[in-house]
Amino acid sequence: MIINHPILGPRDFQEFTYLGDASLIDRPDWQADNAADQFHDYLYLRDNPAGEHRELWFHEQGDRSWLVVTRNTVTHEILNVELARDVARARGRSK
């Protein structure tokens, strides 16, 4: 597979380390009333779609960017690649 890195351009996927569902960005608030339940869902419940999947890849053998890659898990077509930091900010994460 080839991942089109937003900064570095097309790179072979072997330069990357795969983590999993991009929902791992949405780490719950530890002070919420049901924090334990939220963390349980965050950590253990994942969709496993046959189709489009947003997932986290780490450019470990490259510039160390975490990326959110939108990939079709059936065809391996890659539809979009974003810097995870941008995605995290867009989803309201800060400090």
Partner: protein, 1008 residues
């Protein structure tokens, strides 16, 4: 007609035909062909010496020398000859070369002849002509599909030890020498606009069209000669012969710097996003690789567009005894005659269901070979000049002990006729080579007019298919499709290509009437010759209710050999469809997977063999340690000194005990560079570490170090280390050796994905600093001799858990940490890696007056067990801070990775495992890591399990074996005597539960 008469006739004809200057003893060599100037080459087969010519394959050279018998079959040890002239060959598998270069299961059809080639037949004993295991053939009625499953069911224990080894020995292929391969294999990467797979008329036309348009083109072909079937046929292109046109095309391609022509290169797989795997056989056609050249190269080709122009493979017709040496595919017989100037025999018959088979008869007749009959299954067969035609007839049986002598033909009239022939050229039609189109789950579609599967729409991304691979079998159609395909592919890339005038070429349809197998006869008709699967086996599978083609394949093993059923799958499918009363497309095909043809392990491994299997990381003191005669141990990729034996020490324990005692009594030095180091800088660095570690870091003063425990988000402890604060906005974090990469990855994840606005930057500095632990009562005295005098490292100025930037040896930049893993007064001192070697020498020199010793990982381990420090055995992926006795460290006042879920009820049980120490009641008993803990009395069972021992060592300080581990409610059970059991080895000892801190529990030494 009797056998004797037949033989006499054949021999007589051979004598007639064996004239001509370059024949010599090559009784079946013809005139013409493409074997270039005819440079003679010597080779041996089963020790016998033969001659061939440059341009021959092993198969063509053997046939030229009158050798039809080339191997024994896999299961029945039937005599077998060559079936094909290409990579699809199922039968003619040989062992090539010898010693470290011995290569089993090599197809003689693709083994390019070179001077000195050495080949041996395989799967026979004692010889190819007299194979003892041929007895299997007598029992063939028993050895049908599923025989092993049904027969060797009982007793189950016999399978592994008795049945399987015997079966494997009897049924097999070639052998390996068990010597190391002396040759190099390389890997490489290529990029192109258009990859053309196959260099027949289609591929060459595509490459010419794309090359002329200026595109970056790679054209690859598995053959050593470009041209594909043009080399095997007599028809021309335009005014030129096929071969001449190929030469012209090749010359033009060679003149274009944007085109890379890769003969002897097989595209083995179509992978995601236009990436193709290719194996280039750089040196397989020579005795040994030239100096500096690899034997093979595994290429990864990144293509923007790819065109599959891989041609087609002829398929046989199954009939009784169709596996005798001499029964061959018609296209192969034609290829041997036209390209290699070889006929498999001087009398040949043809058996076909299509017009293409007739070409073989015509070409052989033109070369002066006697064609005894053309047997065509079609009643309306075209006329044949120069040979007898049996239209509407079938071959129903063959005879000949180690090679074909005659074929029995059932004529349309119903009578039989025995046709003398030393070779029978069989054509059942052609199958497009769709394999690569299926590597991304594509399924081919059935085309009725050619009675074959062709690629459907679901091709791998950016691949197109053209020519015979797409079912367009005529040369004219191939040229057109190649040119048009290249134009279409390039236009998608914005490159404009033009179709120049296409040359004239033959445009004949093949007119095939499907005919898969002859129904007459009770004997065996072979489908898959490599796995010895017959028509009968397919019928049996059907009878036993195997309905899916995938099940048929696995039950009968049809198509599961190294040829992936290139010549056999279609026949099996067709018979299965017929038995099930279905159409062939309803039955479908099995899945084709990479590699297209077998690939050697050597080229897959490339240079990653032996000590280069993976990178070796050496510590900065490695050279010095080698000089000391250190014994090394692999720790991940690192090589670390395990212990430093001294003269007179005969057992590792003597060295390790000495290193421990000398460190505890005076001073020891250990290279700890392998620990991960991460530089953390930024305004929010402290807050960031607060998130990373379970314990608090925000208030750590500058100049101080703190132990830190890292949790996974599920609350399990996964790493520990220290963080030293060198400035308000600058920390140096250490990790364990094993988790250096993981911790860094996780910290980057937190930084970018969880806290994207924190002002913090990370960089791994593991390789940038050489770090040494200096431990023992004389550690400070030693260091004072090395650290530059302006730095006060007295206990008052530089107390336990202090850190600072200093200089050593007269101005060399260094970092000093007062931390202790051994429990002694200890420091870790870091210098830039390039000074690491100088530093160890300096430290040892300064330590001489104290009798300083270097210590290795074993002594390090003993001392940390004596001190009760957790390491990898304790941070084993199941243990929490609570289990480790650090529950109180997990801050409840702040957010950190893992703290929320570490509060789960199940992880905070009242009877939770706690880290404690164990001493044997009988001091002579060894404590074993992995032993399970049981109460003093009662049953030994999983239900009564009280915990387990994680680390154990002989403590030279205590004079006995000790251990640490996890015990239910361990912290409240000190003094209790329990049992440590090892049911695997039948051991059980009594141990006393003690504090895990065996040495200096109060921690006075490290503060002194």
């Amino acid at each position: 007609m009797t056998d004797a008469v037949m033989n006499a006739g054949r021999v007589a004809f051979q004598a007639d035909g064996s004239t001509g200057a370059r024949k010599g003893v090559q009784v079946n060599r013809l005139d013409g062909g493409l074997i270039k100037g005819g440079k003679p080459l010597n080779f041996t087969f089963d020790g016998k010496r033969f001659k061939g010519f440059e341009g021959d394959t092993l198969a063509s050279a053997l046939l030229a020398n009158g050798v039809r018998l080339m191997g024994r079959s896999f299961k029945y040890h039937r005599p077998r000859g060559v079936l094909t002239s290409g990579s699809e060959e199922p039968n003619a598998l040989v062992e090539l070369r010898s010693g470290g270069r011995q290569e089993p299961n090599t197809r003689a059809t693709v083994a390019e002849l070179y001077d000195g080639l050495e080949a041996n037949s395989q799967n026979r004993w004692p010889s190819l002509q007299h194979d003892f295991m041929a007895i299997n053939d007598r029992f063939s009625n028993f050895l049908t599909a599923g025989f092993y499953y049904k027969t060797f069911m009982w007793p189950a224990a016999f399978w592994e030890k008795l049945y399987e080894p015997i079966i494997r020995k009897a049924a097999g292929l070639g052998s390996i020498s068990f010597e190391a391969d002396p040759d190099a294999y390389d890997k490489g990467f290529l990029h192109c606009d258009l990859l053309v797979i196959g260099a027949g008329p289609t591929g060459l036309m595509a490459a010419l069209t794309a090359g002329r348009a200026g595109a970056q083109v790679i054209i690859a072909d598995e053959d050593f000669l470009l041209g594909g079937r043009l080399n095997a046929e007599t028809f021309g292109i335009g005014d030129l012969t096929g071969a001449a046109w190929v030469e012209q095309a090749q010359a033009e391609l060679a003149s274009m710097p944007n085109v890379r022509v890769m003969p002897r290169t097989t595209i083995i797989g179509a992978f995601d996003h236009g990436i193709y795997g290719a194996v280039e056989r750089v040196s397989d056609h020579v005795l040994a690789p030239e100096a500096g050249k690899p034997r093979q190269i595994l290429w990864r080709i990144y293509s923007k567009r790819a065109m599959l122009a891989a041609g087609a493979t002829e398929r046989p017709i199954a009939f009784e005894n169709n596996d005798r040496p001499g029964v061959m595919l018609a296209g192969a017989v034609r290829a041997y005659a036209n390209r290699w100037a070889v006929t498999p025999d001087q009398t040949v018959a043809v058996f076909t269901n299509n017009d293409d088979g007739h070409r073989t008869a015509a070409d052989l007749i033109a070369k002066g070979v006697k064609v005894t009959a053309v047997i065509d299954t079609r009643a309306a067969a075209p006329k044949v000049e120069g040979a007898e035609l049996f239209a509407g007839a079938q071959v129903v049986d063959t005879k000949g002990r180690l090679g074909l002598e005659w074929a029995r033909v059932r004529l349309a009239s119903g009578t039989t006729r025995d046709v003398p022939c030393g070779a029978l050229a069989v054509s059942g039609g052609w199958n497009p080579n769709v394999h690569l189109t299926c590597h991304q789950r594509g399924r081919p579609a059935w085309r009725e007019d050619i009675a074959a599967f062709v690629p459907a729409g679901d091709l791998p991304q950016h691949m197109s298919v053209a020519g015979a691979a797409n079912g367009d079998f005529s040369t004219a159609a191939a040229l057109r499709a190649g040119a048009e395909g290249a134009v279409a592919a390039l236009s998608e890339l914005g490159i404009e290509a033009k179709i120049s005038d296409l040359p004239e070429a033959e445009d004949a349809p093949i007119n095939v009437t499907p005919f898969w197998y002859v129904k007459e006869g009770k004997g065996r008709a072979w489908l898959d010759q490599q796995n010895d699967v017959t028509v009968k086996d397919v019928k049996l599978a059907h009878q036993e209710n195997f309905r899916s083609v995938e099940h048929l394949k696995r039950y009968t093993t049809l198509g599961m050999a190294t040829d992936q059923g290139k010549t056999s799958n279609m026949g099996g499918l067709a018979i299965m469809a017929e038995l099930a009363g279905k159409q062939i497309p309803e039955v479908g095909t099995t899945m084709f997977r990479p590699p297209y043809t077998p690939v050697s392990f050597g080229v897959m491994a490339g240079r990653s063999v032996g000590e280069d299997f993976r990178p070796t990381r050496k510590t900065p003191s490695h050279k010095w340690a080698e000089e000391q005669g250190a014994v090394f141990v692999e720790v991940g990729q690192w090589l670390r000194a395990q212990w430093f034996p001294r003269a007179g020490e005969t057992h590792w324990r003597q060295s390790v005990d000495r290193e421990v005692l000398q460190t505890r009594n005076s001073v020891g030095i250990c290279d700890v560079t392998t620990l991960g180091k991460i530089d953390v800088q930024g305004k929010d660095a402290a807050e960031f570490l607060n998130k990373m570690y379970a314990n608090a870091f925000a208030k750590l003063p500058v100049g101080k170090v703190r132990y830190g425990l890292m949790l996974r988000e599920d609350g399990i402890a996964y790493d520990d280390g220290t963080a030293a604060r060198f400035a308000e906005d600058h920390f140096v974090v250490t990790t364990t050796t094993a988790n250096a990469v993981l911790v860094y990855r996780n910290m980057e994840f937190a930084r970018q994905c969880l806290f994207p606005d924190m002002d913090v930057q990370l960089i791994s500095t593991t390789e940038a600093w050489a770090q040494f632990a200096v431990a023992g009562p004389n550690a400070r005295k030693l260091l004072q001799k090395v650290v530059d005098p302006e730095f006060d490292i007295s206990n008052e100025a530089f107390p336990f858990m202090g850190c600072g930037e200093i200089t050593v040896a007269g101005g060399c930049r260094a970092r000093l940490f007062r931390i202790s893993f051994s429990g002694e007064l200890a420091y870790e001192i870091a210098v830039p890696t390039r000074y690491g070697d100088a530093m160890i020498r300096k430290l040892m020199e300064a330590g001489e007056e104290f009798g300083a010793v270097p210590y290795g990982t074993e002594a390090l381990g003993v001392m940390r067990i004596e001190k009760g420090h957790a390491a990898g055995n304790e941070l084993n992926g199941t243990t929490s801070a609570l289990n480790l006795g650090m529950g109180g460290m997990v801050s409840k006042k702040k957010d950190c990775i893992g703290n929320t879920l570490s509060e789960r009820e199940g992880m905070n049980r009242e009877d939770a495992l706690k880290l404690v120490g164990f001493k044997p009641v009988n001091a002579a008993d060894p404590v074993q890591a992995g032993a399970h803990l049981m109460n003093a009395s009662g049953e030994v069972s999983a239900a009564t399990d009280q915990g387990y021992i994680t680390s154990a060592a002989y403590s030279p300080v205590l004079g006995c074996s000790i251990g640490i581990g996890f015990l239910k409610r361990g912290d409240s059970r000190k003094g209790e005597v329990i049992r440590a059991v090892n049911p695997l080895e039948g051991r059980e000892i009594q141990v006393e539960v003690v504090s895990a801190h065996f040495v200096d529990p109060e921690g006075e030494r490290l503060r002194g």
